[in-house]
Amino acid sequence: MTIEAINEQLLRAIGVGVALLDRQTLQFGFRNDTFDEWFGGDAQQTQLQQLFPDLDVNAMQADLTNAGRFTSEIRFKKKRRTLVVALDFTAAEEDLLVLVCQNITRIKELESMIDSYSMMVERNTREIKREKEQVEKLLLNIMPRSVYEEFKTFGVVTPQMYDPVSVLMLDFVGFTDMVASQDPSVTVTELNDIYSAFDRIGEQFGCERIKTIGDAYITVAGLPDPTPDHAKAIANTAIRFVRYLTRRNLSHPHEWQCRIGLSTGSVVGSVVGIQKYVYDIFGPAVNLASRLQEFADPMQITVQDDVANVLKDTFDLKSIGEKAIRGFGNQTIWQLSDSN
């Protein structure tokens, strides 16, 4: 066998489609077996455009003149499978055109699969991100942001001392009777409205609502970021709570009467619990606010002596004398009124 014959055998058997064309007439001169297997068809088309009607022949001739090369891609169905073949035309000597065809079906199928997969993953990532934001929002509802950041980074929260802060404790008069005598769901809905309003008012004065226990509402000024005028902030908040309830009672069938106690001191804030955690504060200021609240008449605010001293210049305060406060001995306490 001659070298030429061997070469031709190789060219015929190779897994790449090879054809030779006349550059002018675009008539096929030679097609190897692979090429015929892909593009043989029933009728033997002898001209390029007959075989590939969608091929842009003008663009091809232009590229061949400029760069000596032209590449394109065609898709066709073999049985029900879409085959994708890359065409590579090279201008050779004496008006000869060499066409090399590679089967890139698998590559295209893989591309489609990667597209499909990455879309699924991206969608999942978006969903996870949304869920994470929901969780974050929930956690921020129960603890201050700085505490949340610590919790997120270390998985635990170190109890932290905040000193000084002012604590507001609010309790409703006759709440137990109200729950018993009225539709509890209505009572709870109203309580929810009121607490939401309290949250908004507190926010305006930089207070951090710590928790509600039934009809008791606790908010703090000066936590987690220290505020020099925490006592004024808490007094302003307390006055607006009463103002809000007074106005609300005018237009609602159920009247809500509150008692408020204000105290100043140190508290320790921390996340308590592992499975069901809450952010809570502990310390004498919390207990004192609770006791002071008990001394208040309905819709009145009772203030600790230390707080009153700070507020005297700007707020309307009246001494209600010295009282024995459980756990705190005898203390002078004051009533804070709305000067407006």
Binding site: R75, T82, M113
Partner: protein, 119 residues
Amino acid sequence: MAEGTLYEKYGGFSQISRIVLSFYDTLLDNDEIGPFFDDVDMSRIVDHQTKFMASLLGGPASYTDNQLRQLHSHLSITDAHFDELEEVLRGTLSQHGMTAEDIEVVIAEFEKRRPLIVR
């Protein structure tokens, strides 16, 4: 994608992609089921098979029952077709070295969807 899914066990996307392509090849050559894909665009079939495999193996895709019902509602798929696909699936999975026990888990997942697909 919970930990411990078959999708994870059999190597995640890099390995499952081989199963998908081999499943795709077998499916198109199959003269019982192949015709359903006669006029469907290649990238759509591949997309479909990728999600199909992922949802059966616990990968990052899941169709709701309603979606599945809707997607197949225009096709006259019979129990015989469904059985045939089950065989193709079984063959492909076993060819890729999945244990008989795990194959049964996948087939059970597949069977759950029969009422949504077959009319």
